[in-house]
Amino acid sequence: MILFDGNSLTFERLVAIADLGEEVGLAPDAVARVRAAGAVVDEQAAGQAAVYGINTGFGSFAEVKIPADSLERLQLNLLRSHAAGVGDPLPVRVVRAMMALRANVLAKGFSGIRSQTLDALVALLNRRVHPRVPCRGSVGASGDLAPLAHLALVLVGEGEVWDGARAAPRYTARPARRCSSSAAS
């Protein structure tokens, strides 16, 4: 089993996860760091001060404070609005690599994610639930907003996942949409 701790992910381990389906988990010290950072987010979200990305809009709305009772909707809308990539879906091995890289970064404990959410991402890898992520729309210079939004939508029960069958892609109504392709492994 490979444990994410945010410091020791190598190419070899990434390939083992992406291609060989190696089981993954979170290092105990990572869990402690993630919880500590998550508590800071909870604290600031409950406060009056505007903190970018926590209780503000994004981009040109970065200065706009969002009221506390709308924060949940803000975060959900962030995922929905950014899940707008285009092009063919990335192969499953690439999606697995994305998931592993993101889980590793989140395990560093500088992101403020809830530990339950990170647990869910790790569980997706272990249970081979793979989000459908369109290959175009990443700009690199601003994170991987669109591809990661497609990945994260699955964690809230939306978006699309591969079902591994070798049929043509199917796009049905959400939630819990699935898609299939020969590219799945």
């Binding site: 945010g6 800071v40 600031q44 970064v105 560093k108 500088f110 690199g140 991987d144």
Partner: protein
């Protein structure tokens, strides 16, 4: 690449020790793409060298006349090489 894979790339970033949330630019992944582009160019060069070093053994004399395998193999190698170079600099 390994450094990037083990770096905090979120925005904002949360510092539990200081109880602070700070917006920054660590999400900027361009340095990795530059390194990857350079690696692709180097690999295309390696492919060029490799293609020139290809040697196709000649067929045994007692076999019946066959299509020119040497020619078609080089043709395919040229095609793949051309594509490699194009992809590397795209």
């Amino acid at each position: 690449m390994t450094t990037e894979a083990n770096s905090a790339t979120d925005n904002p970033m949360v510092f539990a020790g200081e109880r602070e949330i700070v917006s920054g630019g660590n999400f900027h992944g361009a340095p990795v793409t530059m390194a990857a582009d350079l690696a692709a160019i180097a690999l295309a060069q390696l492919a060029t060298i490799s293609e020139r070093r290809t040697e196709v053994p000649s067929l045994d004399d007692d076999r019946p006349p066959a299509p020119d395998i040497d020619t078609i193999t080089r043709l395919i190698a040229s095609g793949v090489l051309e594509e490699s170079c194009r992809v590397a600099v795209k």
